[in-house]
Symmetry: none
Subunit: 120 residues, 2 copies
């Protein structure tokens, strides 16, 4: 039995499921609309399975509307994963700061970046 955070990250570890979330980020959609772009490359049961993984991970919710089932993103499901990420922000900002500092030295002193050229 996976913990909640592992289940969320596991659900996100697939390009089809991320594409489904991207589609849902533009608005609610029913299962047929969500399935359509993938029908050429996978079976309907495979698509349904992907939707179940997203639902079980709490990333989407399904509601019954008249004849069909509508899916939408459940922001709360993503929040815990985003909060977890946030703790590590300092590590990618650090590497960005280093790159930024380096680019500033190169821009301030264009010859620096190409100093090897003069050797040739």
């Amino acid at each position: 039995m996976q913990d909640q955070l592992s289940q969320t990250f596991s659900a996100l570890a697939d390009p089809t499921r991320r594409a489904m979330l991207a589609r849902l980020s533009t608005g609610e959609a029913n299962v047929s609309d969500l399935a359509r772009p993938f029908l050429g490359e996978m079976s309907l049961p495979a698509i349904t399975k992907h939707l179940q993984v997203l639902e079980k991970a709490g990333l989407i919710t399904k509601t019954r509307k008249a004849q069909w089932r509508s899916c939408k993103i459940n922001g709360d499901g993503l929040k815990d994963a985003a909060d977890w990420m946030e703790q590590y922000r300092i590590f990618w900002e650090e590497s960005f700061d280093r790159l930024d500092a380096y680019l500033k030295t190169v821009t301030a002193n264009p010859s620096e970046g190409n100093k090897n050229d003069s050797d040739q």
Copy 2:
């Protein structure tokens, strides 16, 4: 063969690997130090395997320092996943106005909503 983003999320989908990253967030550590808290519950090969998954996903880097191998977090590896998450921030923030504004831009620019499709 998994795409890079799937590999990152997949590596994060495990509590042992997240605990290893949490340990590394306090500073570099060698493999023995990283392994110690887990030796009661799993074998050394299992621990090594977890470290390999983190390294393959670009979340940690190993460097050789004198006699031992030191591990540290690679912020760049986390950044892409955090950037991906960031697009969905609006769904967990409780501002319907912003969601409404976002939906309007997507309606005006339908291609925007599918920008993640390039992952595939």
